[in-house]
Symmetry: D2
Subunit: 343 residues, 4 copies
Amino acid sequence: VIRAGVVGATGYTGAELLRLLAGHPKVDIKVITSRAEAERRVDDIFPNLRGHVDASFSEPHLEALAECDIVFFATPNGIAMTMVPELLDMDVKVVDLSADFRLKNANVWAEWYGMSHSCPELLLEAVYGLPELNRAAIREARLVANPGCYPTAIILGFLPLLEQNRIDLQCLIADAKSGVSGAGRQAQVGTLLCETAENFKAYGVPRHRHSPEIQQVCSDIAKRQVGITFVPHLVPMIRGIHATLYCHCSNPDDDLQMVFAGRYADEPFVDVLPPGAHPETRSVRGVNECKIAVHQTQGGMMVIVLSVIDNLIKGAAGQAVQNMNLMFGYDETLGTKATALLP
Amino acid sequence: VIRAGVVGATGYTGAELLRLLAGHPKVDIKVITSRAEAERRVDDIFPNLRGHVDASFSEPHLEALAECDIVFFATPNGIAMTMVPELLDMDVKVVDLSADFRLKNANVWAEWYGMSHSCPELLLEAVYGLPELNRAAIREARLVANPGCYPTAIILGFLPLLEQNRIDLQCLIADAKSGVSGAGRQAQVGTLLCETAENFKAYGVPRHRHSPEIQQVCSDIAKRQVGITFVPHLVPMIRGIHATLYCHCSNPDDDLQMVFAGRYADEPFVDVLPPGAHPETRSVRGVNECKIAVHQTQGGMMVIVLSVIDNLIKGAAGQAVQNMNLMFGYDETLGTKATALLP
Amino acid sequence: VIRAGVVGATGYTGAELLRLLAGHPKVDIKVITSRAEAERRVDDIFPNLRGHVDASFSEPHLEALAECDIVFFATPNGIAMTMVPELLDMDVKVVDLSADFRLKNANVWAEWYGMSHSCPELLLEAVYGLPELNRAAIREARLVANPGCYPTAIILGFLPLLEQNRIDLQCLIADAKSGVSGAGRQAQVGTLLCETAENFKAYGVPRHRHSPEIQQVCSDIAKRQVGITFVPHLVPMIRGIHATLYCHCSNPDDDLQMVFAGRYADEPFVDVLPPGAHPETRSVRGVNECKIAVHQTQGGMMVIVLSVIDNLIKGAAGQAVQNMNLMFGYDETLGTKATALLP
Amino acid sequence: VIRAGVVGATGYTGAELLRLLAGHPKVDIKVITSRAEAERRVDDIFPNLRGHVDASFSEPHLEALAECDIVFFATPNGIAMTMVPELLDMDVKVVDLSADFRLKNANVWAEWYGMSHSCPELLLEAVYGLPELNRAAIREARLVANPGCYPTAIILGFLPLLEQNRIDLQCLIADAKSGVSGAGRQAQVGTLLCETAENFKAYGVPRHRHSPEIQQVCSDIAKRQVGITFVPHLVPMIRGIHATLYCHCSNPDDDLQMVFAGRYADEPFVDVLPPGAHPETRSVRGVNECKIAVHQTQGGMMVIVLSVIDNLIKGAAGQAVQNMNLMFGYDETLGTKATALLP
């Protein structure tokens, strides 16, 4: 049994992580921390966990966390990096769901996150936790940087095309749409129901923090620098990301359906839909899955990939559990199989 | 392993039943019928079942259904009663999720459902499938009438008060609110998103079909005729029922919190919240649970009970599986434990 | 032309007031204040006002407000009372949309609002601004206490019954449901889309601040103390209040439809629907109207009144403009006629 | 005063048209037709029109329509073309809100709409009713083809770039998102609240009926054949279209903000937002306006245009009234000025 700790568990990602870990047959949640809510019962904030997580939040102390086999960080950016080095020294494995270890270049990180990185030497060690890309490395990792939600949906959608060098790398477009839970559980006017319901808008054009992450990973896959335009939008719903990806095919006769189906044939959590399909975010709501459809228009020259995930599961907590399973030698799907609720 | 059939599985109740049965460790789904969608793959209509239910709809034939140990009817009213007698004769157990067997009096049934009942003799045999009320009888039953969604939320909220004779029976009020999935998956203007989103209204005043069911069961519990006013409302959300119940306490010094907590102490699927609580429908979304809070105002004279369920689970498919477990001697909670998604 | 000032215009009530005043043919908005947003353009916060309100927020200064003929307070409770006495002294009329002047008894006010009242002598002078009840007094008033949103919907629903003494005054029940905008534009977790969408719950049982206001006004109308149970609920939508009112008829033979139709025949903003109707909140969204239907069940003994308003219009800003029109001798409907958007 | 008729007024476009015409100071609605709802009161279907439109639906008869100065068709595709020739012969002007007269080529029309066109000779006469493009011609027109909702948002977004030949015409991308009202008021499963709420998906890839319309008009503007990829998506809200447009700038030093601001400086219903802005659909909800922002990324090479409209107003009924004003020599903005509701 894995003894697990969750740091910063009062956000939506933390809540999902607790829900998944509580239902995982090989996990015992030992520590749940929150500075702001220390002493308060977890199910007081998350009523769905009543009867499932019988615990209270505690202050984050290294001594308590050192008793764990693994610690998950579901904290704001800039927190994990202050605690991770010591945890690793004490032989605790770490999955960081924040952005602290996703970029390889400390200067780029500092530029985008507005502070200098406190342990840049770990940036190179950290494994980018997308199992479909880095499964072997994740198995051996001490420190996993769990991917961002937008990057997960977008990278899985471009991956087969990048690996096989099928597309023009200079004008990739990722038009992405996210439910409001992607903005977190902070008290802020911009994500009130009255500000987001019955409304649709783009935001973060031209700069969104997920851009360098997408850029870096796609370039790594393509083994060349790629040019990506990324435009995020806010959808009046709670969960789900839909990425609509556009790129130009090098060869209009390519059978891209076969490329995708082949690449993901053995992946437990990527489902390539049949030709002509349109994946819906609700079909993956609450489950650790990415559904993908690929279309070609304009005589095959224009490739359109539709990729959907639940931003809190495959885009965060579910992928973190998937990574934990790999790191501890368990079946990758343990505790993350479920069927989406519909309607 | 129980061989199960589902008749009329193209509605939301049917879809939920398939989802639950597919995840049930002791069930093998043998037959899934639909006249309208015969031959079509189930996951074509319900994309969440892709990879979980690998089957197509078939025409409803008695021979195929006779191979089952149990048949669930998720059909419009008036269908089950035409097939149930023969199935029972062939030793197939039945859980009917429609209203065909919920009322004891065939004349009352005919008045409310606009047709005469084709097997009135079975009305008395049928057991009203509310386990918290009729657990022992359900265990022995061949035919279970699964309760309506509104009645489940309302009856569980009044039950302890009625059993203990704590309230004035003549002026019970049930102000109930339901998500739109309660109206089913039929093509109709009234439940389009554009007609129901950003809107709230009452409907069915003064006559709603669930009234006689609530009236009958509450009167049975109280062992006297009760007078109930029931007003349903449509909430702009998919799932969930919230019943706000009002009645007058016979004795303002009664500790009703204790009455509720005691009555439901051993119930796996009824959760009595602590004093002062307000249950939320989202806390039971997707799970087979009723959460209840009891309040007293006006010096204790006015009792307010707040009761929430997921109309498709505890109000339909989940309760049906709970009944099946009882009918076949399994642990009542098998296959119906889950943690609600939040947010 | 009326020179108008709006104090505290960064909330939803303030925004609606600006929208209505900007479209009013006899109003010139001179001052728009906000401490928090001073210097910021109004249309930067409320993009719908771009091209309609060409102004910036300013700090609230008495000198500037004294230049106005009327000042509206759309402030949190406890602010208006600190400025109103001086404004009145300077011959500025006031409509207060907060709760500072709604209660007549300073002790009751202090108990519910947690502070002592700074000008209790004005509580008696202030006219409760429900034109259907106090039209003549509003015409003469210097200071109008604009009713709360719940009280408006509830009082208009009970009014004809209370005036004509048709009901048992001791067990009135108001089961009310409100869209989330009723909770304001503050940054708070509880009203995030992710906390309120796809959810329904009661709140504030047994004590909500609108209770004493409802109690006071209903008792005034009935000329006797009434007993009211008020339970508010939160609906996953932006705008709208639906009040479902229950009471016992003194005489089951009363034709209550006629009572309502007669009482409101000349009211420009109360629409009594035909028998059997169910008013929808969307039918009054964006307009200054209350739609009401009356039903009788249980042989006429139980009266059910359904009453809907837009909480931000007839429940706040629209009623404030209606009051202003009366105070300045204009046609009561000036600037508040519009047709609701549907869908 | 213009005598107006509306054919097929039971859809959402028809309802909006009635709302706008009822509030128009120079219009008298003489005829409102619907085969399906003949004899039924209009406000029975559209409760918001109660008190504003005092009329019933009638069967569509040419004699009655011939009494009108203008007839609007808000019918399904294929209806208007059967009645328009006779109306024109009787000197009745026509604005067709369906797709019958939007394409110039009868063969292309037949291919996309699955029937042959009954009056192809009128295709060339019909003026495409986008005032920002064809104002002068609309003033003289007998027959106006009111643009589709997606085309309106997309063409207004590309227009300045196409006119000035600033972009690569071969790889235009229009990633468009629409509220559910765009799918109409038909009884169909796909647009039920339970199928569309809490969900996001693309549809109609690779072929949507608005593609040839966009293609034709954009090519006309550019005076060369353009290559456009159009992907529509369904947003869980009632109203609004957001088009995110991508194209490659011919010259990265172009100041496109100035190009847009200059082009639309005198347009009453196109609002070019300041640099860096993100228009929101709610800011145009209920109003006849298109708000546009232009961004450049990747060193200016990639142009991103964000364009929002209310699909039922600027994308349908509002634009139809704007066209009517032009056709009858009235101020173009008469009866279509309003301020969007927010929240």
